[in-house]
């Protein structure tokens, strides 16, 4: 029973540790990370199958980790220690990818059959990671069985997937998996055109192919390609001039990587190179106001690491480089899509101001780093430093003015990011740790427009500190941590009514998060009762440039509790998950005025984020039964989401004149049957 396991402290060594792990005997691998007290958590593929409500999805299982706030509906990422999903980075086998989840937030962007484990590092992570003022989500693909062939097909309400793995020649192995989301096709087949127009069903697909060759003398070469695509479409019959008429959102990306590893007495050397492209297109028509944001990106990067074990001490140097070449075109509303801190009211019409721009930024960073894991008896010291040289350039400094040739800019930003952690094995079952670090994040390329953002945006900065303790006795593991994060130079809307030219955004935003988290876990391996209790108490604040008062972060949740319980027998499993989370902040509507030109009421707002949605409470159930038929194994699962049919408020919706309100509620009771066949 491995709901979410507390993970290794030495997060900087994840790449090396994972890659050197012995090949598993099948697709399912249980991660048995040692208990460690740095606030990080991990979950393995088998563990995800044991989480009710996650439907076997690794990313969804990570939602139960301490330090992770409940995801907003349809959001594409995790909120870690008071940072937005955009402030965190998602890595798959060491390669940055644009999102953890497909549209809708139901599935991770990689087929479950191809994944081995995923870790969430909310902050204060090691020097081998960077470019994130929030946290790191570190996902690893499975290793194929080099001895025998395996195949797997799986289907449920959302999608179907297939995968295979096995030996390739005498020294290699392969792994391949693909998934096809078909909910939108089912919808087309059996529902009316009217319902298809009203209900946005995300269409998604993804796949991963990986081959690994064990060369001689401890050398290994891995070649891997993965890709994912999403599409979501909506068309509403308008009740008013400013209702959404059209909404189309598409996203796709692929990456190809080569990973070479050599392990010998001199240490371990990793060389990872990768390339890929991202494409995203958002098109909306809100009454008469259009929104169009199209971007294409070519991404290339490398991670090089050499680690050396000397008398029980670990020394590591590395180089982490990434460059993205963007082509972006945006047209329409200046305030959509909304960003953190925007006072948006669900269903309210946007302001009518529009703009148009196309720009071609280049963002890159080359960051050498060094870290060590030093032990003296029961004491451990883990210093690290990362020196980043970032490039920020684009072809526009000012809004487009006719055929006047644009004037571009290019600047480099040097940052030094010290990281330090200390550990004390106080007793054989109790470990104490402290960690702190400085992190920087490059501006988002879509924020560098002189019309919609600002080319002068700099890097945002985070300072994290965490104090933690972990203990393990009698099959029970407990990890607790207290954390604080200070964010500065965050991009934010310019508070000036008439900002300087090309200064729609400025770098003066601030953030502050602090809190404590607790995880208690009992493993059920291989059978028996197991479970995990995770609780996070936190407060996350943001402050706009020039403001003296702090406001609540858009995703702030004071209490986040997840209790996962499961009983596994030889052929069957039954489990439950109970989640509670404080409702997310919202800005109250204190009145309304009539916009006679738009023919709509517009809200008059109270203090920003001064009210909350009602608390979220949900009980999910999962049952699984497997049958062994010679070499075939058939597994049938049933997930029941929101088993108590509790109506969880996800948003406030107002009457046309804003005199009344009600709540848009999320998933009520929903049952999903799944089948998995393995050979």
């Amino acid at each position: 029973m491995g709901a979410v396991a507390v993970a290794s402290f030495a997060t900087g060594l994840c790449l090396a540790q994972v890659a050197s792990a012995p090949p598993p005997s099948s697709f399912e691998t249980v991660v048995t990370a040692p208990p460690a007290p740095d606030g990080a958590s991990s979950v393995g593929a088998a563990g995800a199958n044991d989480v009710a409500g996650a439907a076997g999805d690794l990313g969804r299982a990570l939602e139960n980790a301490p330090g992770v706030a409940r995801m907003a509906p349809a959001s594409g990422g995790l909120v870690l220690w008071g940072s937005t999903p955009e402030e965190s980075r998602v890595l798959l086998d060491g390669v940055e990818i644009p999102a953890l989840f497909h549209f809708g937030g139901w599935r991770t962007v990689v087929p479950s059959a191809a994944l081995r484990d995923a870790s969430v590092l909310p902050g204060a992570f090691a020097a081998s990671f960077g470019r994130a003022s929030g946290g790191i989500v570190d996902v690893h693909s499975a290793d194929a069985d080099a001895q025998a062939h395996h195949a797997q097909v799986q289907a449920d309400l959302l999608d179907a997937s297939a995968g295979a793995s096995g030996p390739l020649g005498s020294q290699g192995n392969y792994l391949g998996a693909a998934r096809f989301g078909y909910l939108n096709y089912l919808q087309s087949a059996v529902t009316s055109a009217e319902s298809r127009a009203l209900v946005p069903m995300p269409a998604y697909r993804d796949g991963l192919v990986k081959t690994t060759f064990d060369l001689d003398q401890g050398r290994r070469l891995t070649l891997e390609v993965f890709a994912a695509s999403d599409r979501s479409q909506l068309a509403l019959a308008p009740d008013s001039p400013t209702d959404a008429l059209i909404y189309t959102n598409t996203r796709s990306f692929w990456r190809a990587l080569a990973h070479f590893r050599q392990t010998d007495e001199a240490g371990t050397t990793d060389v990872l190179v990768f390339a890929g492209t991202d494409r995203a297109q958002l098109d909306e028509q809100l009454g008469l106001v259009p929104v169009a944001l199209h971007s294409e990106t070519v991404v290339m990067g490398t991670r090089i690491m050499h680690g050396l074990a000397l008398s029980g001490q670990w020394l590591e140097i590395g180089l982490d480089g990434l460059v993205g070449v963007w082509s972006i075109a945006e047209h329409g509303s200046l305030t959509l899509p909304p960003r953190e801190g925007d006072e948006t009211i669900f269903g309210a019409p946007p302001g009518g101001a529009t703009g148009s721009d196309n720009w071609h930024p280049v963002l890159g960073e080359i960051a050498p780093y060094a870290l060590a894991d030093l032990h003296w008896g029961r004491f451990a010291l883990r210093p690290g430093v990362r020196v980043a040289d970032a490039l920020v350039s684009s072809d526009r400094t000012l809004p487009p003015t006719g055929l006047t040739p644009p004037v571009g800019f290019s600047r480099t930003i040097w940052t030094v990011e010290p990281r330090l952690a200390m550990g004390l094995a106080a007793t054989p079952w109790l470990a104490l740790d402290a960690a702190a670090g400085v992190h920087h994040q490059l501006p988002d390329a879509t924020d560098l427009s002189p019309v919609f953002g600002s080319p002068s945006l700099g890097e945002s900065r985070a300072e994290d500190a965490v104090l933690s303790a972990a203990m393990q006795r009698s099959g029970l593991a407990l990890a607790t941590a207290a954390f604080v994060r200070e964010l500065t130079d965050l991009p934010a809307r310019n508070p000036n009514p008439q900002p300087a030219l090309a200064q729609e955004l400025v770098s003066g935003g601030q953030g502050r998060s602090y809190g404590a988290q607790l995880a208690i876990r009992r493993d059920a391996a291989p059978t028996g009762l197991g479970g995990q209790l995770s609780y996070t108490l936190s407060r996350s604040l943001r402050r706009a440039p020039g403001e003296s008062d702090w406001r609540l972060f858009d995703y702030d949740q004071t209490h986040v509790l997840a209790a996962v319980l499961g009983y596994r027998a030889r052929r069957w499993f039954a489990g439950a998950r109970l989640r509670y989370a404080t409702g997310m902040p919202r800005t109250p509507v204190v009145g309304a005025y009539y916009d006679s030109s738009a023919g709509e009421y517009r809200p008059i707002l109270g203090a920003q984020n001064s009210i909350r949605l009602p608390a979220f409470v949900e009980l999910d159930l999962r049952a699984e039964r497997s049958w062994q038929l010679r070499s075939l194994r058939l597994t049938m699962s049933l997930d029941v989401l929101d088993a108590t049919d509790h109506e969880n408020a996800e948003e406030i919706i107002y009457s046309g004149d804003y005199s009344h309100h009600a709540y848009v509620t999320g998933l009520p009771l929903l049952a999903a049957l799944g089948l998995r066949l393995e050979i």
């Binding site: 309400l157 909910l183 089912l186 059996v190 529902t191 009316s192 319902s195 209900v199 069903m201 308008p238 009740d239 008013s240 001039p241 008469l288 106001v289 200046l334 305030t335 946007p350 302001g351 009518g352 101001a353 529009t354 809004p399 003015t401 006719g402 055929l403 809307r493 310019n494 508070p495 009514p497 008439q498 900002p499 300087a500 030219l501 090309a502 200064q503 706009a544 309304a592 005025y593 009539y594 916009d595 006679s596 030109s597 023919g599 709509e600 009421y601 517009r602 008059i604 996800e650 919706i653 009457s655 046309g656 009344h660 009600a662 709540y663 848009v664 509620t665 999320g666 998933l667 009520p668």
Partner: protein, 307 residues
Amino acid sequence: MRSLASRLLTLALVLASGCSPEIDRSIALVTRPRVLAVQAEPPESPPGSSAVYTALAATPTGVQPAAGIAWSLCASPAQPSEDSPVSSACVLADAAATTNLATGNGVSLVTPVSACDEFGPLGMPTLSGSPATQASAPDVTGGYYQPVRLLWDQALSFAFERLACPPVGVPLDLAQAYRAAYRPNQNPQLLAVSANGDGDGAPLDVTALAPGSTIALTASWTPDSAESYVTIDVEQDVLLTQTETLWLAWFVTGGQLASDYALCPAGATSAANRWQAPAAPGTYYLWTVLHDDRGGVDFATTSLTIP
């Protein structure tokens, strides 16, 4: 079976997308005194010139003269962080954010001479050495607007006077071509609102309608209500010719409208609707408001009587 499967899956899909509660988003039913539209004549004017503003002041008992409407002008635009065409300071009537001008209906207001600086493409003048300020952003028609504040019977409304501002940041010859080609906006013109039988289309006597009956409504307007106008494509430095989009809003004091709003296709000169008359006898009022997307407005009032 297909029908049952369809229903079940539709239900599942709706549930999966979240559930929207029953809440009335319609604003078509007039149950208290409200301003439904404001017509400025002319609807587009240069700074320093005047326009006459007439509010369509509706109540459950018909149109009111609304002599008590207090008019003022917003003095500064909204901040970029305010997703609104009006600054919160002007909404809250901060003394420095508004200029009180007149009381009544059909008032004449002078657009401030600095309107193209404050709300238009010019941007605020800066001291020597200070960075240039970012001008206000136009709407999809390339227009800039001076917000006009109305307070009537404790109900707050805003109208927007389109500003005739000179083009900025374009070559001189293009600016001259724009000035020569651009025609300031004119208000659209409603011709008639008619009531007919829902089935046979026969004209109805609006002073003797059957209770509970369904009445076909048709609003028509002049063909030149949707005007052509030029805008500047600032990325290509060329003039573009566009045609206004018209849309129609319906308001009523009782009964049920089939649709509150209609986006009019290009070339259309009429729009249809249906009204379910109430069972209770009385005189009901129907207001039809025709908008163009450059801020022009026309409106008509129709009384519908159930003996």
